[in-house]
Structures are given as structure tokens and as C-alpha cells.
């Protein structure tokens, strides 16, 4: 393995297996995209299952979805779009060598990610979990009362249980990705501030950015699917 030692501290290292920096960077990007395609394969079957059961039980899923607030989902969508924009800006500043602006954008992205998770927990998951409206043996008992409390007609509880199983599984997996994103962004900021030899150009920021845009992409589809279901 080649060393990261370099006579130019700010210059990216070209490893011996690559012809030039362009080929090396393309390899990084391609590797990241391979990972993202794997991630797509990870999420796609879940979308498929959700689409299938929505098709089959649309009327009940529509009633079950009434307990989700489209405004809360909309705020979270806006937050994630802003964070994606901030990441794109941070890559722009990294390419221009403006480290301070780059770091500010990364911190802003972390704040957005934390806000996303906080809103999801505070307004969606915790109220539902505290009333037993999550996949658990008492769901059939708890859900109709919870729906009545909110002035919403209750769906068939068995179908509603299926809906909320999918809801918690898919949005939970997405939230896990958001949380991992926060950790990765913090690690990136740490390495940039430490002037680590791992960070010699904009590529690490771009790689982390690609991951974050993917998290945003997943939410772009989740929002209309879960929160904006059309009336059957």
C-alpha cells in the first residue's frame, strides 16, 4: 500500500496503480456509486412491499395514514432539501479551497440532520410508541383508541398494523441512515480540522456528500408515499 507522505502537503496523492489523478478520482466516485447502488437495492424491495400492500389495502392504508401529519413531513422534507443544498455548497467550497466556508456548510448539514431526527422522534415516533401504536402484540387493541382520540376514523386494525410495521421499518431504516450521516460528517470535520493526511482534496467531502444526497433521495420518495397518500 502506498504511503500518504507527500512533498506537497495540500496536493492529492496519486497511487501507483492509477494512471493519473483523474483516473484515481473516478475510481473513488465509481466505488461510492457501487455502494449507493447497493443501498438502492436495500431500500427498493421495501418500497416494493409498501407499494404492493398499498395497492392491495389502499382504503385501510389511507385511513391509517391519517395519523401522520403531512405538515410535519413537509417540514422534514424542507430540512433535508436544505441539508442537501448545504452539502453541495460544501463540495463547491472544498473544490475552491475555502475550508472555513466548507466547514460551516458541513456544520449546517449536521444541524439539519439532527433537527430531522428530533422532529421525527418528538412529533411522530414518541407519541405513537407511548400509545402502543407501533408493531407490538397490543397494537390491535391500542390503535383504534388512538385513532378515536385524534378524531380519525379507524382503519381495520390488522391492515393498520401492517401499515405501521412498514412505516416504522422504512422510516426507521432511513432515520438510521441520517444518524450514520451525522457520525460521518463529524468524522469528516474532525479530519479536516486536524489537517489529516487523508484529506488532501475535495474528494472525501464529495464522497460523504454523495451518501447524504442518497439519504435525501430516499426521503423524496418516502414523503409522498407515506404522508400524501391520495384518497381512494
Amino acid at each position: 500500500m502506498s504511503s500518504h507522505e507527500s512533498t506537497h502537503p495540500d496536493a492529492p496523492v496519486v497511487y501507483e496503480q492509477f494512471e493519473d489523478i483523474g483516473q484515481q478520482q473516478e475510481t473513488y466516485v465509481l466505488g461510492m456509486w457501487s455502494f449507493l447502488v447497493n443501498e438502492t437495492m436495500f431500500f427498493a424491495p421495501l418500497f416494493f412491499v409498501y407499494g404492493l400492500y398499498t395497492w392491495k389495502h389502499h382504503a385501510d392504508f389511507y385511513l391509517a395514514h391519517a395519523l401522520l401529519d403531512w405538515r410535519i413531513g413537509g417540514i422534514n422534507t424542507f430540512i433535508l432539501l436544505m441539508s442537501s443544498f448545504a452539502v453541495a455548497l460544501s463540495v463547491h467550497y472544498a473544490q475552491k479551497g475555502r475550508t472555513r466556508a466548507q466547514l460551516n456548510c458541513l456544520w449546517f448539514t449536521i444541524a439539519c440532520a439532527a433537527a430531522f431526527i428530533w422532529i421525527k422522534l418528538q412529533f411522530e415516533w414518541i407519541p405513537k410508541i407511548s400509545h402502543g401504536v407501533f408493531p407490538n402484540p397490543e397494537f390491535i387493541q391500542n390503535y383504534p383508541h388512538y385513532a378515536m382520540e385524534h378524531g380519525v376514523p379507524a382503519a381495520d386494525p390488522y391492515k393498520a398494523r401492517l401499515y405501521y410495521s412498514l412505516y416504522f421499518a422504512i422510516t426507521g431504516l432511513h432515520a438510521l441512515h441520517v444518524a450514520i450521516g451525522i457520525i460521518v460528517f463529524l468524522a469528516l470535520i474532525y479530519l479536516i480540522k486536524k489537517k489529516s493526511s487523508l484529506i488532501t482534496d475535495y474528494i472525501p467531502t464529495e464522497m460523504v456528500g454523495l451518501y447524504w444526497h442518497f439519504v435525501d433521495l430516499v426521503w423524496i420518495f418516502l414523503y409522498p408515499l407515506f404522508y400524501l397518500m391520495p384518497r381512494p
Partner: protein, 141 residues
């Protein structure tokens, strides 16, 4: 032995110029995404009542348009090599191909699942207290 970008550039005299996307373009893309989100909400909540399949189609078309903007500009696929483009679009296209499986589910009867709903013929007992719908609750059918 590893060389630096500058050293290599000096040795061989060619370089890979990375594309810096201007902030003005990034802002336009962000604006497009916000408009897309507003359109999605309008169509679903405030828009005229349309057939449900058409509503789904509109929602998914807008979502795909937003995803296209993110992939092209924020993820910079528009400015990458053909190989990266093949991976990026191939992956998302592959995910869409999963929908073909829906044709199978849509054209055949589903196998009954024992224990799925009460009242249906089932090999599993439905006498569990936890699986009984409370009697004081009106279920919408």
C-alpha cells in the same frame, strides 16, 4: 511509489479537471426542488380531486423529477464519466424494474394467509385476547 498530483502533472503533462458547479446553478436546483415539493403537496392536499391512479402517477413523476435534479446536479453525475453515469442511472433503473413484479401480483389471486384476518378460514387460533378488536370501537369499512 505514490506521487502527488502536482508531481504527476509535471511528469506527464495531463490532468483531470474536476467540474466546479457554480453556486448560482446550485441555488436554481434547490429552488426547483422546493417548487417540486410545493407541487407535490398542492396536488395531494389542495388540488382538484382526480382518479387515485392519476394522483399516484403525478406524485411519483414529481418525485422522479426531484430525484433527477439531485442526481444530475447535487451529486454531479451530469459532469462525470460515462462509466459513473452507467452505474448511477443503472442502479435507479434497476430499482424501477422491480415494479414489473407487481404485474404478477396484479393478475393473479393472492394465496390466503392463515391467521391474517379474523373470520376467514384459518389454521391458527383467533381466540387470543390481544388480537381481538375492542368492542367499543367503531371500525370503518
Amino acid at each position: 511509489m505514490a506521487t502527488t498530483h502536482h508531481e504527476h502533472h509535471d511528469d506527464h503533462g495531463h490532468d483531470h479537471a474536476h467540474h466546479v458547479i457554480p453556486i448560482s446553478l446550485l441555488m436554481k436546483v434547490f429552488g426547483g426542488l422546493i417548487i417540486g415539493m410545493a407541487l407535490t403537496v398542492y396536488a395531494a392536499i389542495f388540488g382538484p380531486k382526480m382518479p387515485v391512479q392519476f394522483m399516484w402517477l403525478i406524485a411519483m413523476l414529481i418525485a422522479y423529477a426531484k430525484a433527477f435534479l439531485v442526481v444530475q446536479y447535487f451529486m454531479g453525475v451530469k459532469y462525470t464519466t460515462k462509466l459513473v453515469k452507467a452505474f448511477a442511472y443503472g442502479g435507479f433503473f434497476w430499482a424501477t424494474l422491480l415494479l414489473i413484479m407487481l404485474t404478477d401480483y396484479g393478475t393473479r389471486q393472492w394465496e390466503p394467509v392463515p391467521g391474517w384476518t379474523p373470520g376467514e378460514e384459518s389454521a391458527l387460533s383467533r381466540d387470543l385476547e390481544i388480537d381481538r378488536v375492542p368492542e367499543d370501537v367503531q371500525i370503518h369499512h
